[in-house]
């Protein structure tokens, strides 16, 4: 496919991958999946926010300290990779860290 045809297809796909926008909304004590949406000036109090991918946007929102963010398997792999160099996290929060093998290597696998 020529570069131009690839660009045309990408343009069409960009419209299909658009994110519905939610603005100025308050969620209190709710559990929700934030994938696929754009939140603008929203507020989340005591909520459970689930993120399975990087397909979301948060623009000038408030997530209060009583809310918790949970990561799906795909997103958690990136978190583990980010944390691999912090020695303290392996003991303090092992679910956020890669698996440390006996030979000093680390593993981030599908089933870990």
């Amino acid at each position: 496919m020529s570069t131009n045809q690839g660009g045309l297809l990408s343009g069409a796909l960009a419209d299909l991958t658009r994110r519905p926008v939610v603005s100025g909304v308050w969620y209190n004590n709710k559990s929700m999946n934030i994938d696929g949406y754009k939140f603008v000036q929203c507020r989340f109090d005591n909520c459970q926010l689930w993120a399975n991918s990087s397909n979301f946007e948060i623009d000038h929102c408030i997530i209060d300290k009583s809310s918790h963010v949970y990561f799906g398997k795909d997103a958690l792999r990136l978190v583990k990779l980010f944390n691999h160099s912090f020695d303290w996290i392996y003991a303090a929060a092992p679910s956020w860290a890669p698996v440390r093998n006996g030979d000093g290597t680390i593993s981030i696998l599908d089933n870990t």
């Binding site: 496919m1 796909l13 100025g24 709710k30 559990s31 929700m32 999946n33 994938d35 696929g36 000036q41």
Partner: protein, 200 residues
């Protein structure tokens, strides 16, 4: 006695170029004409053979280069569509096989799967907030309307995807679209009535 046998061979060969191949065919014809002219003069007047030979060689070079660039895509036209399936999310897409050679298009398809695969309906909100982030009293209805619009748009995107990528096979296009839409719609509706929402 003389035995005669006649063998008739018929071959239907279609040499009609299509689309951008027409330009390549013209350039190739010009190259052949120039080279033929150059070779003619090579015998009778060698000095006059240089210009047409040079032009013919240059045209032949560009014709070959253009053909090499276009060959893959031209030969792939009309190929069996490529089907990409994610049964866990009830998503099936069909695309031209030439899309596989475009990294940009494949990335877009990956983003599309991700976008429609993980998205779930948003729960009912509790109200609106002002510019300072402070909840506005008695604003639940308007907040619900905003969220309903977003959920509606998300559902519309599913229908657009099903419509854009439905199978073109004869006699099945319409029913396949309905099957895809109803499968995706069913998944969407099940997600909206599942456990997520109000915390105990």
């Amino acid at each position: 006695m003389v035995s005669t046998s006649q063998t008739e061979i018929k071959a239907a060969v279609e040499l009609t170029p299509g689309g951008s191949q027409v330009f390549l065919a013209i350039v190739a014809f010009i190259a052949a004409a120039c080279l033929a002219t150059g070779f003619f003069f090579l015998w009778h007047k060698p000095l006059l053979s240089v210009p047409p030979t040079v032009i013919g060689c240059a045209a032949l070079y560009w014709a070959c280069r253009g053909w090499l660039k276009a060959q893959h895509n031209a030969d792939s036209a009309g190929a069996i569509p490529t089907t990409i399936v994610d049964r866990s999310r009830g998503v099936e897409l069909q695309t031209d096989s030439r899309a596989l050679s475009s990294a940009e298009a494949m990335k877009g398809l990956g983003n599309l799967f991700q976008a429609i695969g993980f998205r779930e309906p948003l729960p009912e909100p509790d109200g609106l907030v002002n510019a300072n982030g402070t909840p506005i009293p008695n604003s639940k209805n308007e907040a619900a309307a905003r969220v309903a619009r977003a959920n509606g748009e998300a559902e519309q995107i599913i229908r657009e995807v099903a419509s854009a990528f439905c199978s073109k096979s004869s006699g099945q296009a319409q029913s396949l679209t309905e099957q895809q839409v109803s499968a995706l719609d069913k998944g969407w509706k099940e997600a909206s009535s599942s456990g997520r929402g109000e915390l105990p």
